[in-house]
């Protein structure tokens, strides 16, 4: 009966319903995707001549003065980001989850979510204009403590700029990550906890041996998202430092942006974009392959 009815909806109707999806994907995702590779083999300036140059753009990037500093910065940002995302929100989620009162658990989750209403650009400019500013929170606090000697332009001093950038958003607890971990913790059945307690597991030991392995799916997801986000992210640098002072906070994405929109070198920019795509792709595949989520761990031990 049901199969017969399904046949009534003709294949044509099905394809018609899928047309918006595939039409949009073809025009606004597939074309730019292909075009990125094509343009990367051309010396192309907007309004100027376009000339086929083979792999020249790629070869030039290998000798680019920003190559080493920008990938060094990227590594630093990624490691820092991974350390943070796999610890702070998980710990806060665990603290909230350990509360007895259901109301309190809900309230804390809502309150920690509030920072997502502040637009990202505004959040960065708040740190720039209010905390790292010459007369901002950080310097004024130091002056109050009588440590005028420690005050500085946090985003212009080459010794502090990178740390200033990564510490934006301290204590890294606001946002949706807590909810994601919380969902994982809530999915652990009570009987596992009871069994662990019978075996004498307590406190931190129990957290590390029971909770952490069982939220590996969430850790894996956030790890992948953090790596992808860091490799391609450069809005922060664009808004705060423009990669400076010098190339102290340059990242590959920002250099790509500058080549395209400041120096009009579209082909070169696309070549950098292609390299970043390949980097993201291989990191994602590595992550999928070698990072075991809890479901996969369970399947393997069964």
């Amino acid at each position: 009966m049901s199969i017969k009815r399904q046949k009534l909806v003709s294949t044509a109707a099905i394809y018609a319903m899928l047309t918006p999806t595939f039409g949009l994907l073809a025009v606004f995702s597939l074309v730019p995707f292909v075009w990125a590779f094509v343009t990367s083999f051309f010396d192309y300036e907007v309004g100027g001549e376009s000339r086929f140059v083979g792999f020249d753009n790629y070869l030039e990037y290998l000798h680019d003065p920003t190559l080493l500093p920008s990938f060094g910065n990227l590594l630093f940002l990624t490691v820092f980001g991974l350390l943070i995302v796999s610890t702070v929100p998980l710990a806060v989620a665990k603290l909230i989850f350990s509360l007895k009162s259901e109301k309190a658990r809900y309230l804390y989750r809502v309150l920690f979510l509030i920072p997502i209403v502040v637009p990202g650009v505004a959040g960065m400019m708040i740190w720039q204009g209010m905390i790292y500013n010459d007369t901002g929170l950080l310097n004024e606090t130091l002056r109050m403590l009588g440590r005028e000697d420690l005050t500085r332009g946090w985003l212009s001093d080459p010794r502090t700029v990178l740390w200033a950038v990564v510490f934006m958003g301290f204590p890294f607890a606001g946002g949706i990550n807590i909810l994601i971990y919380y969902a994982g913790l809530a999915g652990i059945s009570e009987s596992i906890h009871e069994a662990a307690e019978l075996d004498g597991a307590r406190g931190l030991m129990k957290f590390l041996k029971i909770d952490v392995p069982l939220v590996m799916s969430q850790i894996k997801l956030l790890t992948i998202l953090t790596v992808i986000g860091t490799v391609q992210g450069f809005e922060g640098m664009f808004i705060l430092t423009k990669g400076g002072p010098g190339f102290k906070t340059m990242v590959p994405g920002l250099w790509m942006y500058m080549n395209a929109f400041s120096f009009q070198r579209m082909g070169y920019a696309c070549a950098i974009g292609v390299l970043l795509f390949l980097l993201i792709l291989s990191l994602t595949i590595l992550n999928m392959r070698y990072f075991r989520s809890s479901e996969e761990l369970k399947a393997e031990s069964a």
Binding site: F33, I114, P115, M130, K220, F234, E235, G273
Partner: protein
């Protein structure tokens, strides 16, 4: 007894972290009501009561009003479009049998692997060629194309989980696919719709680079690009105005947040977010 102290300690730690998290925003609110001279006098302090408290807001709103309206328009059209297109396609992938279904679904998912950094420059060249620069469409259409992929993924895994008998019994009553989609599936999907809608609106609201490079005409600026340009202009030396602008830019999302917290939290907590 030990337990009660433990709970108190938990609250103490959480309140500390929460204070640190929210403190910058509290400073933004208080300092948005203080003049530059008040702030130069003392960074920490409460605003002096009086009409001048709202000067920053009055000026910031004048600048931000058109940007806010643009952003809301783009957000509503994109969010609604993504929910509609995404749920229809997900319904087809989940509940219709046809040749090539799995291949097509994988083809859609494959687009998740294309990072924005790869397509930023060629997308710009492409929409320029299409003559879309300086319009609302240059934001809406690419956002729709990109946003629907994750939406289809979330919707499909939710539809797959709905009990089959539900569909069987509705079909027995002679309901077609349109009726099934509209009066059986959608009413059950409120929390997924909330998640998809909010994730999209947040993304659209926060997107800065794309509107910044595609709209040079001030008429089409959105909140993010508008705030950035405000910060680059000579307004930026007036702290109260800038801080007021940040507060104003956050209010629409705060309202949405108050309205949709519950279904959104249910949706995220249902465990769809894992790898």
């Amino acid at each position: 007894m030990r337990n009660r102290w433990g709970q108190l300690a938990l609250h103490a730690v959480l309140i500390c972290i929460l204070t640190l998290t929210l403190a910058p925003f509290v400073f933004v609110i208080t300092n948005s009501m203080r003049t530059n001279s008040e702030m130069n006098h003392a960074f920490f302090g409460l605003p002096k009561f009086g009409r001048q408290m709202f000067d920053g807001y009055a000026y910031a709103w004048e600048v931000l009003r058109p940007y806010t309206l643009n952003t809301m328009l783009v957000c509503i059209v994109t969010g609604g479009g993504v929910v509609l297109v995404g749920s229809v396609s997900a319904y087809v992938f989940s509940r219709c049998k046809f040749k090539g279904r799995d291949t097509l679904f994988l083809a859609v998912l494959a687009f998740m692997m294309i990072p924005g950094v790869l397509t930023l420059v060629p997308s710009f060249l492409w929409v320029k060629k299409l003559g879309l620069l300086n319009s609302h469409w240059v934001l809406i259409l690419p956002y729709l194309a990109g946003g629907q992929v994750f939406a289809i993924f979330l919707f499909k895994s939710f539809f797959d989980g709905l009990p089959g008998e539900l569909f069987e019994s509705a079909r027995m009553d002679g309901a077609g696919h349109l009726k099934l989609y509209w009066s059986v599936v959608l009413p059950l999907s409120k929390s997924v719709i909330a998640v998809v809608g909010i994730v999209n609106i947040l993304g659209t609201w926060n997107n800065f680079l794309w509107p910044f490079i595609t709209n040079s005409d001030a008429k089409y600026h959105v909140i993010s690009s508008g705030l950035y340009l405000m910060n680059q202009s000579n307004v930026s030396s007036n702290f109260a105005t800038m801080f007021a602008a940040y507060v104003l830019a956050s209010i629409p999302l705060l309202i949405l947040f108050l309205y949709a917290t519950k279904p959104f939290m249910q949706g995220v907590t249902s465990g769809a977010f894992k790898a």
